[in-house]
């Protein structure tokens, strides 16, 4: 069995939490005591109807305000697949939390209210989906019950989205008309929309292929930790431990280590304490080499056939996540897998207007929730891959050196 990690994006008013509640409820993943708790809470609300949204809103402030502030992770499974849902906030001021949830998702469900159609928020979320290269997109047009299950309304939203997508080129977009409140096309096919012949949402989630994004040509092992038992019988043991982010490593393979650019041969590979002939992404492994080299945390082991880029001048698409704006000359610590280096902002090329997707030139800073293209210079060269080619090696975070807070996320071009 495999796991599908997906994110739901949309406003609370789009019925996002209700949709998740419905998926869990109809797939029988909510348990009695949880339903009892929701029933108890629903009684205090205006209409007394079982409020499925209460399943996902976990914090007191969220329940009080009826909004989602931070990502909540929910788990359910069907006989076909296990699912991890990142239920993300829609409001612009919580965009950074939405990005947190989106970064580990293989699929995004963009909820659109059939009555209002595509909004600024849909555009923003779609843009983030394209930026983070989420492989699969589902546009779930919700609340069709409130527009008399009218096919023409659904079709016009589909066309509007396709028009929008011409500027973004998201590869795989699937449209599904639903009513989360009543369960139409969520788990069971809707009797109210006989004009729709496609899969229900759950059908789609259970069968969508999610294995396409792997890259077997480039082998990458970022070093996390060095295992040195220093006992008499294992006196010379030096194991380089990390999680393989891409490709395959085989015993006997020639490899190169960055940043030292020294070459060596793999003398042993261990996975789960057992010696193996090969290890592959996303396994956690321990590698030993045929010679004693100075390797430390933050170094990167790669195969010789497909080398990473290695430079101290980076072009980055940045999502800014902090009140204190990014400016030309600002210095940060950037983290690319296990490697951290100091970096300075050399220039801000342009901001992206997330409503029109147009570029705005001549800007001196990047504010909270803005997306921009910038150039960075790092203190020492870093070995990385372009995000569009190898996501795991092409993402960075920005850390403020005085507060230690994560202030931004970047995609390396």
């Amino acid at each position: 069995m495999d796991i599908l990690r997906f994110i739901t994006a949309g406003n609370v008013d789009d019925g996002k939490s209700t949709l998740i509640g419905r998926l869990l409820y109809d797939s029988k993943s909510i348990l009695i005591d949880q339903i009892e708790a929701i029933e108890k809470a629903s009684k205090f609300k205006d209409n007394g109807v079982l409020d499925l949204a209460l399943i996902t809103d976990g914090l007191r402030a969220e329940r009080e305000q009826g909004i989602t502030i931070d990502v909540a992770y929910k788990y359910f499974s069907t006989p076909k697949r296990k699912f991890i849902i990142a239920d993300a906030p829609g409001h612009i001021q919580y965009t950074r939390n939405m990005i947190t949830g989106a970064s580990n998702s293989q699929l995004i469900i963009l909820l659109v209210d059939a009555r209002t159609g595509i909004t600024e928020q849909t555009k923003r979320h779609t843009f983030i989906a394209s930026l983070l290269k989420i492989p699969k997109i589902v546009v779930a047009v919700n609340k069709l019950d409130l527009v008399n299950f009218d096919e023409s309304i659904y079709k016009s939203i589909e066309n509007e989205f396709k028009e929008l997508n011409k500027k973004l080129n998201l590869n795989e977009v699937t449209f599904i008309p639903i009513s989360a409140l009543n369960g139409d096309n969520i788990v069971d096919a809707s009797e109210n929309m006989s004009w729709y012949k496609g899969p229900t949402l759950l059908d789609f989630l259970e069968t969508v292929n999610i294995q396409e994004n792997e890259n077997l040509e480039a082998s990458r092992l970022p070093i996390q930790y060095i295992i040195r038992p220093q006992t008499t019988e294992l006196h010379d043991y030096r194991g380089y431990a990390g999680k393989i982010t891409s490709g395959i490593f085989k015993k006997g393979d020639k490899i190169k280590i960055y940043p030292s650019e020294i070459e060596a041969t793999i003398s042993s590979i261990e996975v789960n304490l057992k010696e193996v002939d090969e290890a592959f992404a996303p396994q956690s492994a321990v590698i030993q080499l045929n010679k004693d080299i100075d390797i430390s945390r933050g170094d990167l082991i790669v195969n010789l056939d497909k080398q990473p880029k290695f430079t101290n001048e980076l072009e980055v698409q940045v999502c800014w996540m902090h009140q204190k704006a990014l400016q030309i000359g600002s210095k940060y610590l950037i983290q690319n897998q296990t490697n951290r280096v100091k970096a300075v902002v050399k220039s801000i090329e342009y901001l992206v207007d997330i409503n029109t997707f147009e570029k705005q030139f001549e800007t001196s800073e990047v504010q909270l929730n803005q997306i921009a293209k910038i150039k960075l210079k790092t203190a020492t060269p870093i070995a990385y891959d372009i995000f569009s080619e190898l996501q795991a090696q092409g993402g960075i975070i920005f850390i403020d050196e005085t507060s230690n807070v994560t202030v931004g996320a970047g995609i390396l071009d």
Partner: protein, 303 residues
């Protein structure tokens, strides 16, 4: 793509957890693994072995002992530490109560659950811990569903759910200021059933109370609580002997048993798959206090 290079879901979860363990080891000076003797922290120890063998753990195990533990669990704890040859530190809530003059709860089911936080914070100070690894899972409870893998706590151990750091991809930022500490949760993405399937696959040994046994219990609001020296028994209490097991392991004062005939891991997996209640809902009296009981405790420094 070649199916040879695909991982089963348990392997995926396992690798993710090992990665988190090694990030803790790589990023912190003085981490510790908080060990309670429950199935989740036992799974943590098993994953830590996979992350660091043949080396030693780069952290000790720490048990915050409320004094209300099941004796079977304490026995298991000591045997495990001995077997794996790692350091175990025990700090007792009893001592904190004396030292700080804390007031214990009164009443029938006086619990030390809330007082545990004081001992934990004392222990963090004593050893200047910068990171505590815990076995919390996001499927357990709705406040936990919101927490990051690396959760930064302030000087007072408090969690501020509104100020969580963005956490992208598998890039964890464990940089903190003096006085702050991080709670790291390697099995965040595991469900209760995942844990049991993993225990089965890896043949991990567990304390005996997870399996069915005959025990004297008090019936309280549809829950079964073991009779023990910490619970005051009154004349009208209904007390019987039942075949029970524990679905979670916590204090004897606030952890309920479930009626069960499950002798093996397979029996347990069948039982949980068919269960209509969540594990905390079924067995934790402490979570039922209010809608936000866990959130409130976390804000005060609890796990």
């Amino acid at each position: 793509m070649d199916t040879k290079y695909k991982l089963d879901y348990l392997d995926q979860l396992e690798s993710e957890s090992i990665h988190i363990f090694r990030e803790v080891a790589g990023q912190f000076e003085r981490p510790a693994l908080l060990f309670s003797g429950g199935k989740d922290s036992i799974t943590l120890v098993h994953l830590a072995l996979k992350a660091f063998k043949p080396g030693k753990f780069p952290f000790p195990l720490i048990h915050i002992d409320t004094g209300h533990n099941f004796p079977e669990v304490i026995k298991y704890r000591d045997a495990l530490a001995e077997q794996i040859g790692e350091k175990l530190i025990v700090r007792k809530v009893e001592d904190t109560i004396k030292r700080q003059g804390l007031k214990e709860q009164n009443g029938k089911f006086a619990s030390r659950n809330a007082l545990q936080t004081y001992t934990l914070l004392e222990t963090i100070e004593e050893f200047e811990l910068d990171c505590c690894i815990g076995g919390a899972r996001r499927d357990e409870e709705k406040a936990r569903a919101k927490e990051r893998i690396f959760s930064v706590r302030d000087d007072f151990g408090q969690w501020d759910p509104k100020l969580q750091r963005p956490e992208l991809w598998n890039l964890y930022n464990g940089k903190i200021n003096k006085g702050e500490n991080v709670r790291a949760f390697p099995i965040s993405n595991w469900t209760e059933l995942d844990i049991w399937n993993y225990i089965k696959r890896e043949k991990i040994e567990l304390p005996s109370i997870y399996f069915t046994h005959n025990r004297e219990v008090i019936h309280i609001q549809n829950q079964l609580l073991a009779t023990n020296e910490f619970v005051k028994i009154e004349a009208d209490d209904k007390i019987t002997f039942e075949n029970v097991r524990y679905r979670t392991v916590g204090d004897m004062t606030c952890t309920a048993a479930v009626a069960s005939e499950a002798h093996s891991i397979d029996d347990i997996i069948n039982e949980i798959s068919a269960s209509k209640t969540s594990e905390r809902g079924e067995t934790r009296i402490d979570d039922r206090i209010s809608e936000a009981a866990m959130e409130d405790r976390k804000k005060l420094g609890y796990f």
